[in-house]
């Protein structure tokens, strides 16, 4: 029993690491632009496919493929902002319009992947084989790498937001766009950076997801839905809250998969999501709405 719970928690931490990466980008974009970017799931999928392409065609180098993913998703984030989000922002009905437009973007991404790579499942070759066994609990190296990589990016993002000048500008715009404009911050620039950083985070999440799960054109949908839950749990727009929320959801998800059944994990999370929205919509760390 103890070892079951321990293994479930380890899986939970692995899932939580991926969910955290998937959710921080979404939260950051919400916090700064007050929009819901439904193309986020598409970027998760893109991250996974880019790393697959890199490894398959560039001689199996993980590090270069990973850098390739980061660069490409970051650039595509700018494209997403310039082509889809910015033209619709600040107009009447912009909330609905951006929702539809980013949903349309994710459909475009999904179908581009179907056209380019076909709809069949693919898998990324193992990054590292073997596992570490501690008594009755075993952790394989892939899981360890995921648990180590995610915090690097999360801490990096926190450092960027807290200490670096352009990160501070992001926080300033999130708090008060008008005030930020008065002190000379170009909010348009901040918006495009924010979306690009969010896209990069989604890409990295996609790489980690691709490493343990199969690749399919619609693979970003599931983590996107969980990311929405995490975003609310963490208090909409709070990056720190989102990171805590992601690990909590990851562990709950893993325990549900382990003890109740693979199938029921999602419905259980949805019911919890509904209860959260009804009982505590401000989340764990958010201010009261």
């Amino acid at each position: 029993m103890f070892s079951d719970i321990a293994s479930a928690i380890i899986i939970g931490l692995v899932l939580g690491s991926m969910y955290a990466l998937a959710a921080v980008g979404l939260t950051l974009v919400w916090g700064v632009l007050k929009i819901l970017n439904f193309a986020h799931g598409g970027f998760i999928t893109l991250g996974a496919y880019f790393v697959w392409v890199g490894i398959t065609f560039l001689g199996g180098n993980y590090v270069i493929s990973f850098l390739l993913v980061m660069g490409l998703t970051f650039l595509l984030g700018f494209v997403l902002n310039a082509g889809v989000i910015r033209p619709l922002q600040g107009r009447p009905e912009s909330e609905t319009n951006i929702f539809i437009a980013t949903l349309a973007t994710s459909i475009i991404i999904e179908n581009l992947i179907i056209v380019g790579f076909g709809g069949r499942y693919k898998s990324i070759p193992e990054m590292a084989s073997g596992s570490l066994t501690l008594g009755s609990i075993s952790i394989n190296f892939q899981q360890m790498i995921i648990m180590a990589v995610a915090p690097v990016f999360l801490v990096g993002l926190m450092y960027y937001l807290k200490k670096m000048k352009s990160g501070m500008a992001v926080r300033a715009v999130a708090q008060d766009a008008d005030g930020a404009a008065i002190v000379g911050i170009d909010s348009e620039r901040v918006y495009s950076y924010t979306i690009a950083i969010g896209a990069l985070m989604a890409g990295v999440a996609g790489v980690l997801l691709g490493v343990i799960f199969y690749l399919s054109p619609g693979m970003g949908g599931d983590p996107l839905v969980r990311a929405l839950f995490i975003m609310v749990l963490g208090g909409m727009g709070s990056v720190k809250g989102t990171i805590y929320g992601a690990y909590i959801i990851g562990i709950i998800d893993a325990l549900a998969r382990y003890f109740i059944g693979m199938f029921w994990a999602s419905p259980i999370l949805f019911v919890m999501f509904i209860l959260l929205l009804l009982l505590r919509p401000q989340g764990l760390f958010g201010v009261k709405v």
Partner: protein, 326 residues
């Protein structure tokens, strides 16, 4: 005066749409028009909540699917007649709308979007889990229905076309009645200024719930009709493509207008069908077009039509003053 104008408009629509089968012999085109009418009904009922009520929710696809699944399950397992089945679909959607609406309408904005989104996935999970009843991934196949002992299929193209047309007209009258009623007035006033509306004694929760429930009924009816028409029901009923089609019909046609979503549905359905030659690239082009339309025609096409009409009518009045209002 106002209702006379509406009556004329309805008559014109009925006249045009009912002579089409006599003029157009291709069944394919009738099929597309019928789809457009069905999607238009679902979209314009959704518009009641989104456009008139200002409550952006994503429960319309679950309503549509509830209508489809309830009628399919009853007709496959219990041999229910589709005529009653279509009504059952509407009732199922109303029940679902109460289940979702009673808790969900207490929150607003993005939280309402999330809540209805979660219900969508829970319903899909239930459909996939109860394989014995719903057929799971494979879905259910419905038998063709014969009229009495004859060999005439009840869902032959002409009958289905006119059924869809009657639903279309019914929906128009239904929505117009709601908008013109006290509920519609209360709804619009809540959307425009909730504080003022509440101070005049309107209960926002009650009005929103009533609208939510009313707008689900015909979505369920259409879901049931659609399923009987296709003779198959699968989890594809929960597809994002439905959500996009309905939502985009509203936005492209014109949010909060009577005819906008209907126009939007016709344009989108025909656009989708005319892009069939693109095969694998169809969804990509469709997505791109959607984004372009949103960017370059933000107010919806109905505004263009209104402007044209106002220029036309001001010329007719020969008052020399062009109405710039619209």
């Amino acid at each position: 005066m106002k209702s006379n104008k509406f009556l004329l408009e309805i008559l014109a629509i009925v006249l045009v749409l009912s002579v089409i089968p006599a003029l157009v012999r291709q069944q394919y085109i009738l099929h597309v028009i019928m789809l457009a009418m069905i999607f238009g009904i679902v979209a314009s009922n959704w518009n009641l909540a989104i456009g008139y009520g200002g409550m952006f929710h994503l429960a319309q696809v679950p309503f549509f699917a509830a209508g489809g699944y309830s009628t399919a399950i009853l007709s496959v397992h219990m041999g229910l007649s589709p005529l009653i089945g279509i009504l059952v679909g509407g009732v199922a959607a109303v029940i679902l709308s109460l289940i979702i609406g009673i808790p969900a309408l207490r929150v607003r904005g993005i939280y309402l979007v999330f809540l209805t989104f979660a219900f969508h996935f829970i319903m899909l999970s239930l459909v996939l889990y109860f394989v014995d009843i719903t057929g799971g991934d494979m879905g259910l196949i419905l038998e063709p229905i014969r009229i009495g002992a004859t060999n005439i299929d009840m869902f032959n193209p002409v009958v289905t076309y006119y059924t869809a047309l009657s639903l279309f007209v019914l929906s128009l009258v239904f929505i117009k009645t709601i908008i013109d009623s006290k509920i519609g007035l209360a709804l619009v006033s809540l959307r425009d200024s909730e504080v003022y509306a509440v101070s005049r004694g309107i209960n926002p929760y009650k009005i929103k719930l009533v609208t939510f429930v009313l707008s689900s009924f015909l979505a369920g009816v259409c879901g049931a009709f659609y399923v009987h028409y296709l003779r198959v029901v699968t989890p594809a009923l929960f597809d994002w493509s439905f959500l996009i089609t309905f939502l985009a019909s509203i936005v492209i046609g014109g949010v909060g207008t009577l005819y906008g979503p209907l126009l939007g549905a016709f344009i989108l359905t025909f656009l989708m069908e005319s892009l069939r030659f693109l095969e694998m690239f169809r969804n990509i082009v469709f997505g791109l077009l959607m984004i372009l339309i949103l960017i370059f025609m933000p107010k919806g096409l109905i505004m263009l039509a209104n402007r044209a009409q106002s220029i036309f009518s001001s010329r007719q009045n020969s008052a020399g003053i062009v109405d710039e209002e619209n």
